[in-house]
Amino acid sequence: MKGKKSEAFWAGRVIEGILLLDALLAIVVIFLIGLLILIEAWPAFRKIGFVPFLLGKEWRPGKELYGLLPMIVGSILVTLGAVTLGVPIGVALATFLAEVAPPWVQKVVRPAIELLAGIPSVVYGLFGLAVLVPLVRQIPVPGNSGFGLLSASVVLAVMILPTVANISEDAIRSVAREYREGSLALGATHWQTIIGVVLPAARSGIVAAVILGIGRALGETMAMIMVIGNSVIIPKPLNSNPLTIFLSQARTLTGNIAVEISYATGLHENALFATGVVLFILIMLVNSMAHLAMRRRS
Protein backbone atom coordinates (compact mmCIF):
# COMPACT_ATOMS: atom_id res chain seq x y z
CA MET A 1 0.00 0.00 0.00
CA LYS A 2 2.67 2.40 1.07
CA GLY A 3 4.88 1.45 -1.92
CA LYS A 4 2.01 2.11 -4.36
CA LYS A 5 1.40 5.50 -2.88
CA SER A 6 4.97 6.61 -3.25
CA GLU A 7 5.01 5.28 -6.82
CA ALA A 8 2.08 7.51 -7.71
CA PHE A 9 3.78 10.29 -5.83
CA TRP A 10 6.96 9.94 -7.87
CA ALA A 11 5.03 9.66 -11.13
CA GLY A 12 3.34 12.93 -10.23
CA ARG A 13 6.68 14.54 -9.43
CA VAL A 14 8.14 13.39 -12.76
CA ILE A 15 5.21 14.80 -14.73
CA GLU A 16 5.43 18.03 -12.78
CA GLY A 17 9.13 18.16 -13.54
CA ILE A 18 8.59 17.64 -17.27
CA LEU A 19 5.97 20.36 -17.38
CA LEU A 20 8.24 22.73 -15.50
CA LEU A 21 11.03 21.92 -17.93
CA ASP A 22 8.68 22.69 -20.84
CA ALA A 23 7.83 26.05 -19.37
CA LEU A 24 11.49 26.81 -18.76
CA LEU A 25 12.32 25.76 -22.31
CA ALA A 26 9.74 28.16 -23.71
CA ILE A 27 11.18 30.99 -21.65
CA VAL A 28 14.73 30.13 -22.69
CA VAL A 29 13.76 30.00 -26.38
CA ILE A 30 12.03 33.38 -26.22
CA PHE A 31 14.99 34.80 -24.35
CA LEU A 32 17.46 33.40 -26.92
CA ILE A 33 15.48 34.74 -29.86
CA GLY A 34 15.33 38.14 -28.25
CA LEU A 35 19.03 38.02 -27.45
CA LEU A 36 20.12 36.94 -30.95
CA ILE A 37 18.02 39.64 -32.60
CA LEU A 38 19.38 42.17 -30.15
CA ILE A 39 22.98 41.14 -30.91
CA GLU A 40 22.39 41.54 -34.65
CA ALA A 41 20.59 44.84 -34.05
CA TRP A 42 23.14 46.29 -31.68
CA PRO A 43 25.50 47.88 -34.29
CA ALA A 44 22.52 49.74 -35.72
CA PHE A 45 21.54 51.19 -32.36
CA ARG A 46 25.17 52.10 -31.67
CA LYS A 47 25.92 53.74 -35.03
CA ILE A 48 22.53 55.38 -35.65
CA GLY A 49 21.54 56.10 -32.04
CA PHE A 50 18.30 55.12 -30.36
CA VAL A 51 16.50 58.42 -30.80
CA PRO A 52 17.43 59.12 -34.43
CA PHE A 53 16.53 55.52 -35.24
CA LEU A 54 13.10 55.67 -33.60
CA LEU A 55 12.16 59.22 -34.57
CA GLY A 56 14.00 59.65 -37.88
CA LYS A 57 11.65 60.47 -40.74
CA GLU A 58 13.81 59.18 -43.57
CA TRP A 59 14.51 55.54 -44.37
CA ARG A 60 16.93 55.43 -47.33
CA PRO A 61 19.34 52.54 -47.08
CA GLY A 62 21.18 53.80 -50.20
CA LYS A 63 22.03 57.02 -48.32
CA GLU A 64 22.61 55.27 -45.01
CA LEU A 65 19.50 56.97 -43.57
CA TYR A 66 17.64 54.75 -41.15
CA GLY A 67 14.67 56.51 -39.52
CA LEU A 68 11.89 54.19 -38.41
CA LEU A 69 9.15 56.74 -37.75
CA PRO A 70 7.22 56.16 -41.03
CA MET A 71 6.94 52.44 -40.25
CA ILE A 72 6.00 53.02 -36.60
CA VAL A 73 3.28 55.45 -37.67
CA GLY A 74 2.20 53.06 -40.43
CA SER A 75 1.89 50.10 -38.06
CA ILE A 76 -0.01 52.15 -35.49
CA LEU A 77 -2.41 53.64 -38.04
CA VAL A 78 -3.23 50.37 -39.75
CA THR A 79 -3.75 48.71 -36.36
CA LEU A 80 -5.98 51.58 -35.29
CA GLY A 81 -8.00 51.22 -38.48
CA ALA A 82 -8.32 47.47 -38.03
CA VAL A 83 -9.42 47.85 -34.39
CA THR A 84 -11.92 50.56 -35.25
CA LEU A 85 -13.52 48.32 -37.85
CA GLY A 86 -12.94 44.89 -36.34
CA VAL A 87 -13.70 45.36 -32.65
CA PRO A 88 -17.31 46.58 -32.90
CA ILE A 89 -18.06 43.82 -35.41
CA GLY A 90 -16.25 41.21 -33.31
CA VAL A 91 -17.99 42.20 -30.08
CA ALA A 92 -21.35 42.37 -31.83
CA LEU A 93 -20.73 38.92 -33.28
CA ALA A 94 -19.76 37.59 -29.86
CA THR A 95 -22.87 39.11 -28.28
CA PHE A 96 -25.02 37.65 -31.01
CA LEU A 97 -23.53 34.17 -30.55
CA ALA A 98 -23.60 34.18 -26.76
CA GLU A 99 -26.97 35.84 -26.22
CA VAL A 100 -29.22 35.76 -29.23
CA ALA A 101 -28.39 33.10 -31.79
CA PRO A 102 -30.37 29.85 -31.64
CA PRO A 103 -28.16 26.75 -31.28
CA TRP A 104 -28.29 25.77 -34.94
CA VAL A 105 -27.04 29.21 -36.01
CA GLN A 106 -24.22 28.92 -33.49
CA LYS A 107 -23.35 25.55 -34.97
CA VAL A 108 -22.93 27.15 -38.38
CA VAL A 109 -21.33 30.47 -37.46
CA ARG A 110 -18.76 29.30 -34.93
CA PRO A 111 -16.94 26.88 -37.30
CA ALA A 112 -17.06 29.61 -39.93
CA ILE A 113 -15.23 31.96 -37.58
CA GLU A 114 -12.71 29.26 -36.76
CA LEU A 115 -12.19 28.74 -40.48
CA LEU A 116 -11.49 32.45 -40.78
CA ALA A 117 -8.71 32.02 -38.23
CA GLY A 118 -7.20 29.16 -40.24
CA ILE A 119 -6.94 30.90 -43.61
CA PRO A 120 -3.28 31.65 -44.44
CA SER A 121 -2.28 35.27 -44.38
CA VAL A 122 -1.25 35.27 -48.03
CA VAL A 123 -4.78 34.26 -49.06
CA TYR A 124 -6.14 37.29 -47.23
CA GLY A 125 -3.63 39.29 -49.19
CA LEU A 126 -4.92 37.86 -52.47
CA PHE A 127 -8.47 38.68 -51.44
CA GLY A 128 -7.43 42.24 -50.63
CA LEU A 129 -5.58 42.55 -53.91
CA ALA A 130 -8.41 41.17 -56.03
CA VAL A 131 -11.39 42.73 -54.27
CA LEU A 132 -10.54 45.54 -51.86
CA VAL A 133 -7.84 47.41 -53.72
CA PRO A 134 -9.95 47.85 -56.90
CA LEU A 135 -12.91 48.82 -54.72
CA VAL A 136 -10.99 51.42 -52.73
CA ARG A 137 -9.51 52.76 -55.97
CA GLN A 138 -13.06 53.82 -56.92
CA ILE A 139 -12.99 56.53 -54.24
CA PRO A 140 -12.33 59.66 -56.29
CA VAL A 141 -9.47 61.32 -54.45
CA PRO A 142 -6.32 62.40 -56.32
CA GLY A 143 -3.36 60.23 -55.33
CA ASN A 144 -5.52 57.29 -54.27
CA SER A 145 -4.08 54.12 -55.74
CA GLY A 146 -6.30 51.66 -53.88
CA PHE A 147 -3.23 50.36 -52.11
CA GLY A 148 -2.93 51.82 -48.65
CA LEU A 149 -4.13 52.00 -45.07
CA LEU A 150 -7.83 51.55 -45.81
CA SER A 151 -7.43 48.33 -47.78
CA ALA A 152 -4.94 47.05 -45.23
CA SER A 153 -7.19 47.97 -42.29
CA VAL A 154 -10.13 46.11 -43.76
CA VAL A 155 -8.06 42.99 -44.41
CA LEU A 156 -6.60 43.19 -40.93
CA ALA A 157 -10.03 43.75 -39.37
CA VAL A 158 -11.22 40.47 -40.86
CA MET A 159 -8.05 38.75 -39.66
CA ILE A 160 -8.43 39.84 -36.02
CA LEU A 161 -12.16 39.13 -36.01
CA PRO A 162 -11.81 35.50 -34.82
CA THR A 163 -9.56 36.50 -31.92
CA VAL A 164 -11.83 39.32 -30.80
CA ALA A 165 -15.06 37.36 -31.30
CA ASN A 166 -13.90 34.13 -29.62
CA ILE A 167 -12.42 35.67 -26.49
CA SER A 168 -15.26 38.18 -26.14
CA GLU A 169 -17.78 35.38 -26.45
CA ASP A 170 -16.07 33.47 -23.65
CA ALA A 171 -16.10 36.58 -21.50
CA ILE A 172 -19.80 37.20 -22.18
CA ARG A 173 -20.71 33.60 -21.49
CA SER A 174 -18.84 33.55 -18.21
CA VAL A 175 -20.82 36.49 -16.81
CA ALA A 176 -22.52 35.06 -13.73
CA ARG A 177 -26.09 33.93 -14.22
CA GLU A 178 -26.97 35.85 -11.07
CA TYR A 179 -26.30 39.21 -12.75
CA ARG A 180 -28.43 38.31 -15.71
CA GLU A 181 -31.32 37.09 -13.56
CA GLY A 182 -30.99 40.08 -11.23
CA SER A 183 -31.49 42.42 -14.15
CA LEU A 184 -34.35 40.50 -15.75
CA ALA A 185 -36.12 40.18 -12.39
CA LEU A 186 -36.23 43.98 -12.19
CA GLY A 187 -38.25 44.07 -15.37
CA ALA A 188 -35.35 44.97 -17.67
CA THR A 189 -35.63 43.61 -21.20
CA HIS A 190 -33.13 41.15 -22.66
CA TRP A 191 -31.37 43.93 -24.57
CA GLN A 192 -31.29 46.25 -21.58
CA THR A 193 -29.77 43.38 -19.63
CA ILE A 194 -27.11 42.79 -22.28
CA ILE A 195 -26.15 46.45 -22.50
CA GLY A 196 -26.67 47.37 -18.85
CA VAL A 197 -25.18 44.37 -17.07
CA VAL A 198 -23.72 41.63 -19.26
CA LEU A 199 -21.35 43.66 -21.44
CA PRO A 200 -20.10 45.85 -18.54
CA ALA A 201 -19.48 42.73 -16.46
CA ALA A 202 -17.59 41.16 -19.37
CA ARG A 203 -15.65 44.37 -19.98
CA SER A 204 -12.21 43.30 -18.81
CA GLY A 205 -12.44 40.10 -20.85
CA ILE A 206 -13.45 42.09 -23.91
CA VAL A 207 -10.56 44.50 -23.30
CA ALA A 208 -8.22 41.51 -23.18
CA ALA A 209 -9.70 40.29 -26.48
CA VAL A 210 -9.07 43.67 -28.07
CA ILE A 211 -5.50 43.82 -26.84
CA LEU A 212 -4.76 40.34 -28.14
CA GLY A 213 -6.29 41.45 -31.44
CA ILE A 214 -3.92 44.43 -31.46
CA GLY A 215 -1.00 42.10 -30.86
CA ARG A 216 -2.09 39.99 -33.80
CA ALA A 217 -2.53 43.07 -35.98
CA LEU A 218 0.94 44.43 -35.17
CA GLY A 219 2.56 41.14 -36.11
CA GLU A 220 0.74 40.58 -39.39
CA THR A 221 3.12 40.71 -42.35
CA MET A 222 2.30 39.04 -45.65
CA ALA A 223 -1.22 40.34 -46.20
CA MET A 224 -0.02 43.82 -45.29
CA ILE A 225 2.80 43.81 -47.82
CA MET A 226 0.34 42.83 -50.52
CA VAL A 227 -2.18 45.64 -50.02
CA ILE A 228 -0.61 48.55 -48.14
CA GLY A 229 1.64 49.83 -50.91
CA ASN A 230 4.86 49.76 -48.87
CA SER A 231 5.96 53.33 -49.65
CA VAL A 232 8.29 54.65 -47.01
CA ILE A 233 6.29 57.76 -46.14
CA ILE A 234 4.63 59.11 -43.06
CA PRO A 235 0.96 58.86 -44.09
CA LYS A 236 -0.76 62.21 -44.59
CA PRO A 237 -4.29 63.10 -45.70
CA LEU A 238 -4.52 63.32 -49.50
CA ASN A 239 -6.73 66.39 -49.39
CA SER A 240 -8.33 68.70 -46.82
CA ASN A 241 -10.42 65.87 -45.38
CA PRO A 242 -8.33 64.31 -42.57
CA LEU A 243 -9.95 60.91 -43.13
CA THR A 244 -8.19 60.62 -46.50
CA ILE A 245 -5.08 59.76 -44.49
CA PHE A 246 -6.41 56.21 -44.76
CA LEU A 247 -6.14 56.37 -48.55
CA SER A 248 -2.43 57.05 -48.19
CA GLN A 249 0.09 54.30 -48.77
CA ALA A 250 2.21 53.22 -45.85
CA ARG A 251 4.64 50.58 -44.68
CA THR A 252 4.46 48.51 -41.51
CA LEU A 253 7.33 47.49 -39.23
CA THR A 254 6.84 43.88 -40.27
CA GLY A 255 6.67 44.81 -43.94
CA ASN A 256 9.86 46.83 -43.64
CA ILE A 257 11.78 43.74 -42.58
CA ALA A 258 10.16 41.34 -45.00
CA VAL A 259 10.56 43.55 -48.07
CA GLU A 260 14.24 44.37 -47.59
CA ILE A 261 15.88 41.55 -45.65
CA SER A 262 16.61 39.41 -48.71
CA TYR A 263 19.16 41.86 -50.11
CA ALA A 264 20.26 43.83 -47.04
CA THR A 265 23.87 43.71 -45.86
CA GLY A 266 25.96 45.49 -43.25
CA LEU A 267 24.37 48.34 -41.34
CA HIS A 268 21.22 48.00 -43.42
CA GLU A 269 20.82 44.44 -42.19
CA ASN A 270 21.49 45.53 -38.61
CA ALA A 271 18.83 48.23 -38.95
CA LEU A 272 16.30 45.62 -40.07
CA PHE A 273 17.08 43.51 -37.00
CA ALA A 274 16.66 46.66 -34.93
CA THR A 275 13.24 47.05 -36.52
CA GLY A 276 12.56 43.54 -35.25
CA VAL A 277 13.60 44.57 -31.74
CA VAL A 278 11.17 47.48 -31.78
CA LEU A 279 8.41 45.17 -32.99
CA PHE A 280 9.29 42.57 -30.36
CA ILE A 281 9.12 45.12 -27.55
CA LEU A 282 5.88 46.59 -28.87
CA ILE A 283 4.18 43.19 -29.00
CA MET A 284 5.50 42.17 -25.58
CA LEU A 285 4.06 45.39 -24.14
CA VAL A 286 0.70 44.75 -25.78
CA ASN A 287 0.59 41.15 -24.57
CA SER A 288 1.45 41.99 -21.00
CA MET A 289 -1.34 44.54 -21.09
CA ALA A 290 -3.68 41.74 -22.17
CA HIS A 291 -2.48 39.60 -19.27
CA LEU A 292 -3.10 42.42 -16.84
CA ALA A 293 -6.61 42.89 -18.18
CA MET A 294 -7.30 39.14 -17.87
CA ARG A 295 -5.90 38.99 -14.36
CA ARG A 296 -8.12 41.84 -13.20
CA ARG A 297 -11.04 39.78 -14.39
CA SER A 298 -10.48 36.91 -11.97
Binding site: A176, E178, Y179, E181, G182, S183, L184, A185, L186, G187, A188, T189, Q192, G196, V197, P200, A201
Partner: protein, 255 residues
Protein backbone atom coordinates in the same frame (compact mmCIF):
# COMPACT_ATOMS: atom_id res chain seq x y z
CA UNK B 1 -57.68 35.50 4.54
CA UNK B 2 -58.50 38.91 3.08
CA UNK B 3 -57.62 39.98 -0.42
CA UNK B 4 -55.89 37.38 -2.60
CA UNK B 5 -52.78 38.59 -4.43
CA UNK B 6 -51.40 35.48 -6.10
CA UNK B 7 -53.19 32.33 -7.05
CA UNK B 8 -52.20 29.01 -8.59
CA UNK B 9 -54.79 26.65 -10.01
CA UNK B 10 -53.78 23.04 -10.77
CA UNK B 11 -50.31 24.20 -11.59
CA UNK B 12 -47.65 21.69 -12.67
CA UNK B 13 -44.08 22.37 -13.78
CA UNK B 14 -41.89 20.08 -15.88
CA UNK B 15 -38.18 20.31 -16.70
CA UNK B 16 -38.17 18.17 -19.84
CA UNK B 17 -39.84 14.94 -18.78
CA UNK B 18 -39.16 15.48 -15.10
CA UNK B 19 -42.15 16.74 -13.14
CA UNK B 20 -40.78 19.18 -10.53
CA UNK B 21 -44.15 20.40 -9.19
CA UNK B 22 -47.46 18.58 -9.49
CA UNK B 23 -50.95 19.98 -9.32
CA UNK B 24 -50.40 22.90 -6.97
CA UNK B 25 -53.38 25.03 -6.03
CA UNK B 26 -52.79 27.85 -3.59
CA UNK B 27 -54.00 31.34 -2.77
CA UNK B 28 -51.53 33.85 -1.36
CA UNK B 29 -52.95 36.80 0.58
CA UNK B 30 -52.06 40.43 -0.06
CA UNK B 31 -49.87 42.31 2.44
CA UNK B 32 -48.95 39.24 4.40
CA UNK B 33 -45.80 37.20 4.64
CA UNK B 34 -46.13 33.68 3.29
CA UNK B 35 -43.31 31.25 4.05
CA UNK B 36 -42.49 28.27 1.85
CA UNK B 37 -40.77 25.46 3.73
CA UNK B 38 -39.71 21.94 2.84
CA UNK B 39 -36.62 19.80 2.33
CA UNK B 40 -34.11 20.75 -0.31
CA UNK B 41 -35.02 19.68 -3.84
CA UNK B 42 -38.78 19.69 -3.22
CA UNK B 43 -39.36 22.52 -5.70
CA UNK B 44 -39.48 25.61 -3.46
CA UNK B 45 -37.35 27.71 -5.80
CA UNK B 46 -39.20 26.43 -8.84
CA UNK B 47 -42.46 27.38 -7.17
CA UNK B 48 -41.25 30.88 -6.32
CA UNK B 49 -39.73 31.52 -9.72
CA UNK B 50 -43.08 30.80 -11.33
CA UNK B 51 -44.65 34.02 -10.08
CA UNK B 52 -42.25 36.32 -11.98
CA UNK B 53 -41.87 33.86 -14.85
CA UNK B 54 -38.16 33.33 -14.20
CA UNK B 55 -38.66 29.70 -15.22
CA UNK B 56 -39.46 30.98 -18.72
CA UNK B 57 -35.68 31.45 -19.11
CA UNK B 58 -35.13 27.70 -18.82
CA UNK B 59 -35.48 26.31 -22.30
CA UNK B 60 -36.95 22.92 -21.40
CA UNK B 61 -39.37 24.14 -18.73
CA UNK B 62 -43.06 23.57 -19.46
CA UNK B 63 -46.13 24.36 -17.36
CA UNK B 64 -49.70 23.21 -16.94
CA UNK B 65 -52.49 24.97 -15.09
CA UNK B 66 -52.89 28.67 -14.49
CA UNK B 67 -51.34 31.34 -12.30
CA UNK B 68 -52.93 34.69 -11.50
CA UNK B 69 -51.76 38.04 -10.18
CA UNK B 70 -54.75 40.07 -8.96
CA UNK B 71 -56.96 37.72 -10.94
CA UNK B 72 -55.03 38.26 -14.17
CA UNK B 73 -53.31 35.32 -15.90
CA UNK B 74 -49.57 35.96 -15.70
CA UNK B 75 -48.92 34.36 -19.09
CA UNK B 76 -51.29 36.81 -20.68
CA UNK B 77 -49.41 39.75 -19.16
CA UNK B 78 -46.38 41.51 -20.57
CA UNK B 79 -43.45 39.83 -18.83
CA UNK B 80 -41.62 43.13 -18.24
CA UNK B 81 -44.72 44.57 -16.59
CA UNK B 82 -45.17 41.40 -14.53
CA UNK B 83 -41.58 41.55 -13.27
CA UNK B 84 -41.95 45.21 -12.39
CA UNK B 85 -44.91 44.31 -10.22
CA UNK B 86 -43.38 41.12 -8.82
CA UNK B 87 -39.84 41.72 -7.58
CA UNK B 88 -37.33 39.09 -6.51
CA UNK B 89 -34.49 38.80 -4.01
CA UNK B 90 -32.13 35.91 -4.62
CA UNK B 91 -30.46 33.41 -2.33
CA UNK B 92 -26.98 34.75 -2.95
CA UNK B 93 -26.76 38.55 -2.83
CA UNK B 94 -26.25 39.58 -6.44
CA UNK B 95 -25.60 43.32 -6.65
CA UNK B 96 -24.34 44.37 -10.08
CA UNK B 97 -20.66 45.33 -10.32
CA UNK B 98 -21.68 48.98 -10.35
CA UNK B 99 -21.95 51.76 -7.79
CA UNK B 100 -24.51 51.56 -4.99
CA UNK B 101 -26.47 54.36 -6.62
CA UNK B 102 -26.49 52.72 -10.04
CA UNK B 103 -27.64 49.44 -8.53
CA UNK B 104 -30.72 50.99 -6.99
CA UNK B 105 -31.37 53.24 -9.99
CA UNK B 106 -31.04 50.32 -12.41
CA UNK B 107 -34.71 49.29 -12.40
CA UNK B 108 -36.22 52.78 -12.69
CA UNK B 109 -33.76 53.58 -15.48
CA UNK B 110 -34.68 50.38 -17.30
CA UNK B 111 -38.26 51.56 -17.17
CA UNK B 112 -37.34 54.81 -18.82
CA UNK B 113 -36.77 57.23 -15.91
CA UNK B 114 -33.97 59.68 -16.77
CA UNK B 115 -34.67 62.62 -14.44
CA UNK B 116 -31.67 62.80 -12.11
CA UNK B 117 -33.37 64.42 -9.13
CA UNK B 118 -36.27 61.97 -9.30
CA UNK B 119 -33.76 59.10 -9.44
CA UNK B 120 -31.96 60.50 -6.40
CA UNK B 121 -35.25 60.62 -4.52
CA UNK B 122 -36.06 57.03 -5.41
CA UNK B 123 -32.60 55.80 -4.46
CA UNK B 124 -32.76 57.48 -1.06
CA UNK B 125 -36.28 56.30 -0.36
CA UNK B 126 -35.53 52.72 -1.38
CA UNK B 127 -32.35 52.57 0.66
CA UNK B 128 -34.23 53.94 3.67
CA UNK B 129 -36.95 51.34 3.32
CA UNK B 130 -34.30 48.65 3.10
CA UNK B 131 -32.70 50.01 6.29
CA UNK B 132 -29.42 50.66 4.51
CA UNK B 133 -29.47 54.42 3.97
CA UNK B 134 -27.61 55.43 7.12
CA UNK B 135 -24.78 53.04 6.38
CA UNK B 136 -24.18 54.03 2.76
CA UNK B 137 -25.47 57.58 2.32
CA UNK B 138 -21.94 58.99 2.06
CA UNK B 139 -20.68 56.27 -0.29
CA UNK B 140 -23.34 56.10 -2.97
CA UNK B 141 -20.68 56.14 -5.66
CA UNK B 142 -18.68 53.31 -4.16
CA UNK B 143 -18.86 49.90 -5.81
CA UNK B 144 -21.65 47.76 -4.38
CA UNK B 145 -19.17 44.90 -4.16
CA UNK B 146 -17.33 46.65 -1.30
CA UNK B 147 -20.34 46.13 0.99
CA UNK B 148 -20.61 43.23 3.43
CA UNK B 149 -22.83 40.27 2.56
CA UNK B 150 -25.69 41.47 4.76
CA UNK B 151 -25.47 44.99 3.33
CA UNK B 152 -25.38 43.58 -0.20
CA UNK B 153 -28.57 41.66 0.44
CA UNK B 154 -30.29 44.77 1.82
CA UNK B 155 -29.05 46.61 -1.27
CA UNK B 156 -30.70 43.94 -3.41
CA UNK B 157 -33.91 44.49 -1.46
CA UNK B 158 -33.59 48.25 -2.02
CA UNK B 159 -32.97 47.58 -5.71
CA UNK B 160 -36.16 45.52 -5.86
CA UNK B 161 -38.13 48.18 -3.94
CA UNK B 162 -36.99 50.94 -6.30
CA UNK B 163 -39.33 49.77 -9.05
CA UNK B 164 -42.24 49.87 -6.58
CA UNK B 165 -43.36 46.27 -6.85
CA UNK B 166 -46.49 44.92 -5.25
CA UNK B 167 -45.06 41.50 -4.49
CA UNK B 168 -41.55 40.58 -3.33
CA UNK B 169 -40.36 37.03 -3.79
CA UNK B 170 -37.43 36.02 -1.60
CA UNK B 171 -35.53 32.79 -2.13
CA UNK B 172 -33.70 31.96 1.11
CA UNK B 173 -32.56 35.58 1.36
CA UNK B 174 -30.63 35.06 4.59
CA UNK B 175 -29.06 31.67 3.95
CA UNK B 176 -25.69 33.18 2.99
CA UNK B 177 -25.63 35.61 5.93
CA UNK B 178 -24.39 35.55 9.50
CA UNK B 179 -26.94 35.48 12.39
CA UNK B 180 -26.90 39.23 13.04
CA UNK B 181 -27.37 40.10 9.37
CA UNK B 182 -30.12 37.47 9.27
CA UNK B 183 -31.99 39.12 12.14
CA UNK B 184 -31.79 42.48 10.40
CA UNK B 185 -33.28 41.00 7.25
CA UNK B 186 -36.05 39.37 9.24
CA UNK B 187 -36.90 42.65 10.99
CA UNK B 188 -36.96 44.29 7.58
CA UNK B 189 -39.35 41.68 6.23
CA UNK B 190 -41.74 42.34 9.11
CA UNK B 191 -41.67 46.06 8.29
CA UNK B 192 -42.12 45.60 4.55
CA UNK B 193 -45.17 43.47 5.21
CA UNK B 194 -47.15 46.69 5.80
CA UNK B 195 -46.95 47.61 2.15
CA UNK B 196 -45.99 44.53 0.20
CA UNK B 197 -47.05 40.97 -0.36
CA UNK B 198 -44.07 38.82 0.54
CA UNK B 199 -43.41 35.21 -0.34
CA UNK B 200 -40.27 33.85 1.28
CA UNK B 201 -38.61 30.48 0.82
CA UNK B 202 -36.66 29.33 3.83
CA UNK B 203 -35.14 26.11 5.05
CA UNK B 204 -34.98 27.58 8.52
CA UNK B 205 -38.07 26.58 10.49
CA UNK B 206 -37.59 29.14 13.25
CA UNK B 207 -37.29 31.83 10.64
CA UNK B 208 -40.55 30.79 9.03
CA UNK B 209 -42.22 30.83 12.45
CA UNK B 210 -40.76 34.24 13.26
CA UNK B 211 -41.51 36.17 10.09
CA UNK B 212 -44.53 34.65 8.40
CA UNK B 213 -48.30 34.86 8.70
CA UNK B 214 -48.96 31.86 6.46
CA UNK B 215 -46.85 28.81 5.82
CA UNK B 216 -46.89 26.32 2.96
CA UNK B 217 -45.14 22.99 3.39
CA UNK B 218 -43.78 21.29 0.28
CA UNK B 219 -42.59 17.73 0.20
CA UNK B 220 -41.44 15.14 -2.27
CA UNK B 221 -41.57 11.34 -2.40
CA UNK B 222 -39.29 8.91 -4.27
CA UNK B 223 -40.42 10.36 -7.62
CA UNK B 224 -38.74 13.65 -6.54
CA UNK B 225 -41.87 15.48 -7.67
CA UNK B 226 -42.71 18.41 -5.42
CA UNK B 227 -46.17 18.58 -3.89
CA UNK B 228 -47.94 21.06 -1.65
CA UNK B 229 -48.73 19.04 1.47
CA UNK B 230 -50.21 21.58 3.79
CA UNK B 231 -50.96 25.28 3.77
CA UNK B 232 -52.43 27.48 6.47
CA UNK B 233 -51.77 30.06 9.10
CA UNK B 234 -48.26 29.77 10.42
CA UNK B 235 -49.49 29.36 13.99
CA UNK B 236 -51.66 26.43 13.02
CA UNK B 237 -48.99 24.74 10.89
CA UNK B 238 -46.46 24.89 13.70
CA UNK B 239 -48.75 24.03 16.60
CA UNK B 240 -51.25 21.59 15.13
CA UNK B 241 -50.25 20.37 11.68
CA UNK B 242 -52.91 18.25 10.05
CA UNK B 243 -50.62 16.14 7.95
CA UNK B 244 -48.27 13.57 9.43
CA UNK B 245 -45.44 14.55 7.08
CA UNK B 246 -45.66 18.19 8.10
CA UNK B 247 -45.43 17.22 11.73
CA UNK B 248 -42.48 14.90 11.10
CA UNK B 249 -40.65 17.56 9.17
CA UNK B 250 -41.22 20.32 11.69
CA UNK B 251 -40.47 18.28 14.77
CA UNK B 252 -37.54 16.57 13.07
CA UNK B 253 -35.95 19.88 12.42
CA UNK B 254 -36.75 21.27 15.82
CA UNK B 255 -35.70 18.14 17.67
Amino acid sequence: MGQIKLEMVHYSLYYGNFCALRDISIQIPARQVTAIIGPSGCGKSSFLRTFNRMNDLISNARVEGRVFLDGQDIWEMDVVELRRRVGMVFQKPNPFPKSIFDNVAYGPRAHGLRDRSRLEEIVEQSLRRAALWDEVKDDLNKSALTLSGGQQQRLCIARALAVEPEVILMDEPASALDPIATLRIEALIRELRENYTIVIVTHNMQQAARVSDYTAFFFTDESRTGMLIEYGETKQIFTSPRDRRTEDYITGRFG
